[in-house]
C-alpha cells in the first residue's frame, strides 16, 4: 500500500487525538521524576503537526517535512525535538525513495523506522538500553522487520518495549540520579510512544 500525503495527514490526526487523550497520563508519568510536562508538550506538538497541512502537500516527503517544520517551531523540549527529528527522518527517507522514481509504501516502513531509531539515538546521544524512546524505536524496528508490517505489530512492539524496560533503571537525564526510583516505572517518552500508537 502506497503512503501518500493524505495517509500521513490521517496518521498525524490519529496521533493528535491520542496525544490529547493521554495528556494528563503522560504529565503524571513525567512528574514522578521529571518536570511533568511530557503530555502537555506532546499535545501541542502533535496539534501543530496535524495542522501543518500535510494533506495538501504534493509528495509524502513534503508532507513529512511540513510536519517536521511545525514540530521544530513549536518546541525545543527533549522529546519534542526528537519527534521533529523523527518526522525529518521520514521526510529524508521518503525523498530518497521518491528520487528513485516511486512513492513510499508500507514495505518501506521497517527501513524508515530503523533510520528514525538511529537518527534519534544520534540526536539525543542515548543508546539502546538507556530506557528512552530510543528503546521504543528499537523494538519497533525489530518487530516490523519480523513483520507483518501493521499497526498491530507496532502497538505490540511499543507495549513490549514498555514491559521489558519497566524493571530497568533510567540512564538518561535527571532521573538517572534516582535510578532505584525509576525501576518499576514507565519512562514517560516510551509511554508516550505506546499511547500515541494506541
Amino acid at each position: 500500500m502506497s503512503i501518500g500525503p493524505q495517509a500521513i495527514a490521517t496518521f498525524l490526526e490519529r496521533l493528535n487525538e491520542n496525544a490529547a487523550a493521554s495528556e494528563q497520563a503522560l504529565n503524571a508519568a513525567d512528574a514522578r521524576l521529571g518536570d511533568g510536562d511530557t503530555g502537555s508538550m506532546l499535545r501541542r506538538v502533535m496539534a501543530a503537526m496535524a495542522h501543518a497541512g500535510a494533506g495538501g502537500a504534493e509528495t509524502a516527503s513534503d508532507a513529512a517535512k511540513r510536519a517536521a517544520a511545525a514540530a521544530m517551531k513549536e518546541t525545543g523540549s527533549s522529546l519534542g525535538s526528537l519527534v521533529a527529528t523523527a518526522a525529518m527522518t521520514l521526510a529524508r527517507k521518503a525523498k530518497e525513495i521518491e528520487a528513485s522514481g516511486r512513492t513510499p509504501e508500507t514495505a518501506d516502513l521497517p527501513m524508515i523506522v530503523e533510520a528514525i531509531r538511529d537518527a534519534i539515538s544520534a540526536r539525543g546521544k542515548a543508546s539502546v538500553g538507556d530506557k528512552t524512546v530510543v528503546d521504543s524505536f528499537d523494538y519497533l524496528t525489530r518487530y516490523l522487520a519480523q513483520g507483518p508490517v501493521s499497526l498491530e505489530t507496532a502497538q505490540r512492539a511499543a507495549n513490549d518495549a514498555l514491559d521489558q524496560m519497566r524493571p530497568m533503571p533510567c540512564r538518561i537525564g535527571r532521573a538517572r540520579m534516582f535510578a532505584e526510583r525509576s525501576i518499576g516505572s514507565d519512562d514517560p517518552g516510551m509511554l508516550a510512544v505506546a499511547k500515541l500508537l494506541d
Binding site: N27, D35, S40, S78, S81, R123, M177, R181
Partner: protein
C-alpha cells in the same frame, strides 16, 4: 496558583515584548522571533557568546545579555528548550567574526537544538564551541560531573566568559575560561513551594506545609531528600556541607558566592541565609568577594533558595571583578 497574566499561550511573547520595551539595551529578533540580543553589539572581532534556555527563569536567560556578559539568547517556551531556529538566530546575532561560544545549561532539549544550530552555523563559516553549565550537584554523582544539569551557577559562568570575551581572547581562550569557570562552580537548591506552568492546571509538584525539598531541580524535579522544614541556619550549613568538599575549598581559598532566590522567597530570607553562609566561611578562614544576593535564576513563583559557589584563582577573580553591565547585574 494565581498569576497576573493574560492568555497563558501568549505568556512568553508578552513577557519578551515587555522585557525589550523596558530595556533599550535588549532587542528581540531573529527568524524565530525568539532571540534577544544586544542593541549595541560588541565590537567586530570579539568572540560572541550565545546562550539559551526555556522561559520561566527570569532574569535567566535573556536578562544576562549585555556588555561583559552574553551577546544573544535563544528563548524557549516555559521549561522547554529553545528551538533550533532560535538557537541559530542567537548564534548569528552573537557572531562578530571571531566565532561563537554556545554557553548554556546541560539539558537534553537545549543540547539537541544547539547542536543542530551549530551544524548549520558552521555551514555559514561561523566557528562554534560549546560549554555546558553543569553546576547542580544534586543532578548527578561527582564521577558523572559532565552529566550534571546547569542551575543558578551559570550566571557566574556568564560573567567569567563574558569578561574573557571582552578582554579580546580568541574562541579557544573564551571557551577555556568558561570551562574553567564552570568546573569551579557548584550549586544546590532547596524548594519550599512549587510553581505552576502557565498552561498547566496544577502546580509542578506538591509538598507538605512542613516540608522542604533539598536539591530539587529548577523545574521542580525531585531532589536528593525531602525533610521537615528546618531553620535557615541549618539549610545554609547543609548547603555548605555539600558544596565545599566538592570544590575542595580550604582555609585561605577565595570564593564568589551567589545566594539566589527561586522566585517567591523574600529578600529578607536570602539575607538571613547569607548571614550564616558568610559567618561560616569567615570562621573557616575562607575569603569571598562581595556576595551576589537576589533573584538571579528563578522558577517563576517557586519558593526557596539556592547557593552557588565558584572557587577563584587569580584568573577567575580578575574575570569576576571586571566591569560588566546587563539589566540585572552590574559590576563596576
Amino acid at each position: 496558583m494565581k498569576k497576573l497574566i493574560n492568555d497563558p499561550n501568549n505568556y512568553v511573547e508578552e513577557m519578551l515584548a515587555g522585557l525589550v520595551s523596558a530595556h533599550a539595551s535588549l532587542s528581540l529578533g531573529g527568524e524565530s522571533g525568539r532571540c534577544v540580543s544586544r542593541s549595541q553589539p560588541a565590537p567586530s572581532g570579539q568572540v560572541g557568546i550565545a546562550t539559551g534556555g526555556g522561559s520561566g527563569h527570569l532574569p535567566l536567560f535573556t536578562g544576562y545579555v549585555g556588555e561583559g556578559f552574553t551577546d544573544a539568547c535563544a528563548i524557549g517556551n516555559v521549561f522547554e528548550g529553545p528551538t533550533a531556529q532560535s538557537c541559530i538566530d542567537a548564534i548569528r546575532a552573537a557572531d562578530h567574526g571571531a566565532g561563537v561560544l554556545c554557553l548554556y545549561g546541560n539539558y537534553g532539549g537545549d543540547r539537541m537544538n544547539f547542536d543542530t544550530a551549530i551544524e548549520m552555523a558552521e555551514l555559514d563559516d561561523i566557528a562554534c564551541d560549546t560549554v555546558l553549565g553543569t553546576d547542580d550537584v544534586a543532578s548527578a554523582a561527582p564521577e558523572e560531573g559532565n552529566k550534571r544539569r546547569g542551575v543558578a551557577g551559570i550566571v557566574l559562568v556568564y560573567k567569567a566568559a563574558g569578561a574573557a570575551a571582552a578582554e579580546g581572547r580568541d574562541l579557544a581562550g573564551v571557551a577555556a575560561a568558561a570551562r574553567k569557570a564552570n568546573a569551579a562552580t557548584r550549586s544546590i537548591g532547596v524548594a519550599l513551594a512549587p510553581c505552576q506552568v502557565p498552561t498547566a492546571d496544577a502546580p509542578n509538584f506538591e509538598i507538605a506545609d512542613n516540608e522542604m525539598e533539598f536539591g530539587m531541580g529548577i523545574h521542580g524535579e525531585p531532589g536528593i531528600w525531602r525533610s521537615e522544614l528546618s531553620s535557615a541556619d541549618k539549610v545554609a550549613d547543609g548547603m555548605l556541607e555539600r558544596l565545599l568538599p566538592e570544590l575542595d575549598v580550604k582555609r585561605g581559598d577565595k570564593l564568589c558566592v551567589l545566594v539566589n532566590g527561586l522566585g517567591a522567597t523574600p529578600l529578607e530570607e536570602l539575607y538571613i541565609l547569607w548571614r550564616r553562609v558568610g559567618e561560616r566561611l569567615a570562621q573557616a578562614g575562607i575569603e569571598y568577594l562581595p556576595p551576589v544576593i537576589g533573584n538571579y535564576v528563578t522558577s517563576m513563583e517557586m519558593a526557596g533558595a539556592s547557593l552557588s559557589l565558584m572557587k577563584l584563582d587569580d584568573e577567575l577573580e580578575a574575570l569576576m571583578t571586571a566591569p560588566a553591565k546587563c539589566p540585572f547585574w552590574s559590576v563596576s
